[in-house]
């Protein structure tokens, strides 16, 4: 085991990727849920804004997760070529 070739850096394992996704989804929902709540307090219709904020946060997080995974795949391809 000790003698096997080890790269300087490695791609994330499925386990870490799973936690990365959970963390981002949670953060997005929390952040934009809070923004929605504040907007709701300002403009009225609090419930509507909170729900909208959470949905928006989820959508943004999903986009972010995809962007990050894309970036990771590109890096892996590049490091395999060189």
């Amino acid at each position: 085991m000790a003698s096997k070739d080890v790269a300087d850096t490695k791609a994330a394992s499925p386990n870490e990727t799973a936690w990365m996704i959970t963390g981002r989804l949670l953060a997005g929902m929390l952040l934009y849920g809070a923004v929605g709540w504040l907007l709701g307090r300002w403009l009225g219709h609090e419930a509507l804004f909170i729900a909208g904020g959470i949905l928006f946060g989820m959508a943004a997080s999903l986009y972010l997760v995809l962007a990050r995974l894309n970036q990771e795949t590109h890096e892996l391809k590049r490091s395999n070529q060189t």
Binding site: V6, D8, S13, E16, G23, A27, G28, A60, Y63, Q71
Partner: protein, 276 residues
């Protein structure tokens, strides 16, 4: 088993199925300990309770076994040394090199200590006589997560530069500029606040739930022990469940220590790479 006895102790051990005594369901009180010793130092009152004693014992134990294992390393390792080397190789090959790569060898001292510290603190949950997973109390995982947070923040700022660390973290490449305005706060929140929080909560919640589950089955075993068929059947079933859950708990304790260290290693890896 002091905590279990406390719960059953409200009705004494006479609290059984047919004695007109309700099931003494264990609650959060099994996670509350009264200080055994109290003393003041520089105006701060310190209370030493059971988890603190376990913490000190575990630390002493870890220092002791690894000192014995690595004090006089020989070319042909003895019993203790080969055990120490095996555990070191496990953390290095399965956690550090698996996530960070060779660059992770520099941080092995931290990861190795972290893994065994968390593992033995968890293991106290099923250790006879101790029977309390120290990490089930939120302060302990929080302190560990804060340490991890400081480490990966420091490594990131040192490796990528203080400002570049944050810009690399917050702006994923290949995303249109207007969308970045929406995404950057999420990245910031998830990396700086959600990460250490979930790290601590994951460990604490797993240990908390496991300890509560085992306690419920032990209390049920004692409570259902009564002169009735249904009581005896239930008591035996609960007793067997206690044994099964204890085995299961051992697996969870090892797994949680592994995950805690693995995620720490992956955060360090994220701080090391310049592309993130």
């Amino acid at each position: 088993m002091a905590d279990v006895v406390d719960v059953v102790g409200s009705g004494g051990f006479d609290c059984h199925l047919m004695s007109g005594c309700g099931f003494p369901a264990p609650g959060t009180e099994i996670f509350e300990f009264t200080p055994l010793v109290e003393f003041s130092l520089f105006g701060i009152t310190f209370g030493i309770n059971k988890p603190v004693i376990l913490l000190i014992l575990v630390s002493a134990f870890i220092i002791f076994i690894f000192t014995v294992a690595f004090a006089k390393p020989k070319l042909v390792p003895g019993k203790w040394q080969s055990m120490g080397e095996l555990s070191y190789l496990f953390v290095r090959d399965q956690i550090s090199r698996e996530t960070i790569g060779k660059a992770g060898d520099k941080y092995m001292a931290f990861l190795f200590s972290l893994f065994f510290f968390v593992f033995f603190l968890n293991f106290m949950g099923i250790f006879p006589g101790a029977q309390f997973p120290v990490t089930a109390l939120f302060v302990y995982p929080v302190a560990l997560a804060m340490m991890v947070w400081l480490v990966y923040m420091f490594i990131g700022m040192k490796n990528q530069g203080p400002l570049k660390f944050f810009t690399n973290m917050m702006f994923p490449p290949g995303v249109p500029k207007p969308v970045l305005v929406i995404l950057a706060p999420i990245e910031f929140l998830s990396n700086i606040i959600v990460r250490p929080f979930t790290l601590a909560v994951r460990l604490m919640a797993n240990m908390f739930a496991g300890h509560l589950l085992i306690t419920v089955f032990i209390v049920a075993t004692i409570y259902l022990f009564s002169p009735s068929v249904i009581g005896m059947l239930g008591s035996v079933a609960s007793g067997i469940m206690t044994l099964i859950m204890t085995g299961f708990e051992f697996m969870i304790e090892a797994l949680q220590a592994y995950i805690f260290t693995l995620l720490t290693a992956s955060y360090i890896a994220g701080s090391l790479s310049n592309e993130h």
